[in-house]
């Protein structure tokens, strides 16, 4: 393979992110599976081959909802050094983002109501670029707050007008 590679960032999201994402995926996928089964039951003559296909589809939906969060958990990683924020995400399409401390303009933490039940938070680091926002998802909320505080401190200590 290639001699030069991007190494994976050091840290993973909090493991609690797996149930949180699973809940999200199930909220999306379960109605889909139920709708398919219901449609089969109500609107068709219930031929056996179609039943098998619908069952396979419903099972695939649920399996995907259970598997995808684990897969994403394995690929989504982040790291903060003294100089930069570094993240990796994506399953089929890998995306690495690097934002240097000197260009960071804003650090936000966000916690949705359900996310709070899991004790999680997201950290978004925004640079002057319209395209450069770096999002670290699914951190323990205390880790997130600490990280935001640390980033703000480093950003303020780094000279430069951030553009």
């Amino acid at each position: 393979m290639s001699a030069t590679m991007l190494r994976p960032p050091r840290n993973q999201a909090d493991p609690r992110v797996i149930p949180w994402w699973t809940v999200q995926w199930l909220l999306l996928m379960a109605p889909l599976a139920v709708a398919a089964v219901a449609a089969y039951w109500i609107f068709t003559e219930r031929p056996l081959w179609l039943g098998a296909a619908v069952a396979a589809f419903a099972v695939a939906c649920v399996v995907l909802a259970l598997v995808a969060p684990r897969a994403y958990y394995r690929v989504e990683r982040w790291e903060v050094t003294g100089e930069a924020v570094y993240t990796r995400k994506g399953w089929l399409t890998h995306t690495w983002r690097v934002a240097p401390m000197s260009r960071i303009q804003r650090v936000d933490t966000a916690r949705g109501p359900v996310q709070r039940l899991f004790g999680l938070a997201d950290v978004t680091v925004t640079t002057a670029s319209s395209a450069g926002a770096v999002k670290i998802e699914g951190l323990d909320h205390e880790v997130a707050a600490e990280l935001a505080e640390r980033l703000t401190a480093i950003t303020q200590a780094t000279p430069g007008d951030a553009t």
């Binding site: 030069t4 991007l6 690097v98 934002a99 640079t127 670029s129 319209s130």
Partner: protein, 529 residues
């Protein structure tokens, strides 16, 4: 009167050539000649009103004398109203330049007092339409250049031309001799007008003009005429398509080319780009003259854009990549980033090189067009595969459509799809791959892409505020990735598309030293040359 100091002014002060100066406070008025301008412009309103009124009164069976009287009355009323409004506006507007600030008081009903510190002034733009120019006036916009569009601008509408020039020089700390000594970076040559018709405008302009004319013609009661003309035309097309269609296309092209040429002349006549200390000054416009300033500090690079037609004609356009540059303003024919009219390619490269190195003399990175490194063959393969798949899909869709569609003309023309689409698709794939390239200059990261519009961007390496590196599943299999430099200027991100995996990472790592380096691992077994 809301402005006590203005009421005390002697009457002759108001009629003086320049803004009258109040000795005590330094508050000045706008140019009083503006009244003539608004009077002249109100005539356009008058014309519209008279046309509408005449049509209405004709419908009511009025006699000619009555109609003329009514129109004259309406005209007087409109002009008087416009003049009264403008007079009130002029009388309530005052501006002054103190050693620290530029201040503006305005507002008929809501009084506003706005002021900007002089050391924050970044741009002083002048704009004069033909009527303002007849009266020797110009509109001045003073900007702080912080962010585009958040109303940090202060507009003096209008000032006498001399006062405007003086104000510009004072605010931007310019001395006249300096300006005269340095030659311009670029100046219009009328031979460039040959590039004017090489734009999409040529094909669409006449349709647009027709569309724009249709509404007003209907409004003044010519609806029956226009609809009859349209139905006649349609009848002609249906009867003799072989004569009508080529003829109409030819007319369309001629009108479009003419329109594009006129537009070029109006937008770029008297074009002149100068390098002043710390900034660029762009002047252009045959009828409406504009003078724009761009601070070198805000410059993050240049872009050379070559749309297909212009490229075939050997021309190119130069644009800036700058922070806080506004979108294309209303009633402007060019976008704010445009630095030059379409011009010959080698001149475009030279101008881009000079602009890119503005502020840092001697570092001519781009000169002659740095040889770009082409991207791997896999990039072409990817494009060809993509184009073939799209073609196959379209051909299948066309086949289905032709067998299902009830109209016979679908079947008559559908064979074009499998002929034209693959040719266009393959051309796009090959051309797109051929145009891919990148280079790393002493100060700039240069990248090129695009089949239809080829864009070559030289981005200041210091202006790069991060990296986004993406690798799709198929890119990974072909050993490619896309490196995107994020920046606060221009589009916000500029990509090096489908570059070889290792080349791309090394490029990013070298373009901004130290940023990507800590996250790279280099294989020890493979010897690096």
């Amino acid at each position: 009167m809301s402005e006590p100091d203005a009421g005390n002014l002697p009457a002759h002060h108001r009629d003086r050539q320049g803004p009258a100066l109040d000795a005590q406070s330094g508050w000045r008025r706008l140019a009083g000649r503006s009244l003539w301008v608004s009077g002249a412009k109100s005539l356009a309103l008058v014309a519209g009103a008279v046309a509408g009124l005449t049509r209405f009164l004709l419908g009511q069976d009025w006699r000619a004398g009555g109609i003329i009287a009514a129109c004259a009355g309406a005209a007087v009323l409109i002009v008087a109203a416009v003049l009264a409004y403008d007079l009130a506006r002029l009388r309530t507007t005052r501006w002054r330049l103190t050693p620290e600030r530029l201040e503006l008081r305005s507002g008929l009903t809501t009084r506003q007092h706005r002021s900007i510190p002089r050391d924050r002034v970044r741009s002083v733009d002048l704009r004069a339409d033909p009527i303002l120019r007849i009266f020797g006036l110009t509109v001045v916009k003073v900007g702080t250049g912080e962010h585009a569009g958040d109303h940090t601008e202060l507009t003096l509408d209008p000032l006498a031309r001399n006062d405007a020039e003086t104000l510009r020089r004072t605010l931007l700390h310019q001395d006249e001799e300096r300006e005269a000594r340095d030659g311009p970076l670029a100046e219009l040559r009328w031979s460039w007008i040959r590039y004017a018709p090489l734009s999409v405008w040529t094909f669409t302009a006449s349709a647009l003009v027709l569309g724009a004319l249709y509404k007003p013609l209907n409004a003044i009661g010519l609806k029956s005429v226009t609809s009859r003309a349209a139905s006649d035309l349609w009848g002609w097309i249906v009867e003799q398509p072989l004569t009508a269609v080529p003829l109409l296309l030819a007319v369309n092209l001629t009108v479009g080319a003419l329109g594009a040429t006129l537009l070029f002349a109006e937008s770029w006549g008297r074009y002149r780009l100068e390098h002043e200390p710390g900034r660029l000054r762009l002047r252009r416009g045959l009828l409406t003259t504009r003078s724009l300033t761009l601070e070198v500090r805000r410059l993050r690079g240049v872009e050379i854009s070559e749309p297909l037609l212009l490229r075939l004609g050997g021309g190119a356009r130069v644009k800036t990549v700058a922070t806080g540059l506004g979108e294309k303003a209303k009633n402007e024919t060019e976008d704010a980033a445009a630095l030059a009219p379409p011009l010959p390619r080698d001149l475009a490269w030279r101008l881009a090189a000079e602009v890119a190195s503005a502020g840092v003399p001697g570092s001519r990175v781009l000169s002659g067009g740095t040889a770009l490194i082409p991207h791997p063959r896999a990039a072409r393969r990817r494009r060809v595969v993509r184009a073939s798949l799209a073609t196959a899909l379209l051909a299948a869709a066309a086949g289905v459509a032709s067998s299902l569609a009830p109209w016979p003309w679908v079947r008559a023309w559908v064979w074009l799809i499998p002929v034209v689409v693959p040719a266009a698709g393959m051309w796009g794939a090959v051309e797109g791959a051929r145009n891919l390239g990148h280079a790393l200059g002493a100060r700039h990261l240069v990248s090129r892409k695009g089949a239809v519009v080829r864009q070559t961007v030289a981005l200041d390496r210091k202006g790069i505020s991060g990296w986004t590196i993406t690798e799709s599943y198929f890119q990974r299999r072909s050993g490619l990735l896309t490196v995107s430099a994020t920046t606060s200027a221009g589009r916000g991100h500029y990509e090096v598309v489908d570059v070889g995996h290792e080349t791309g990472l090394e490029l990013a790592s070298r373009a901004v030293p130290g940023l990507l380096e800590p996250f790279l691992v280099r294989g020890k077994t493979v010897a690096k040359q």
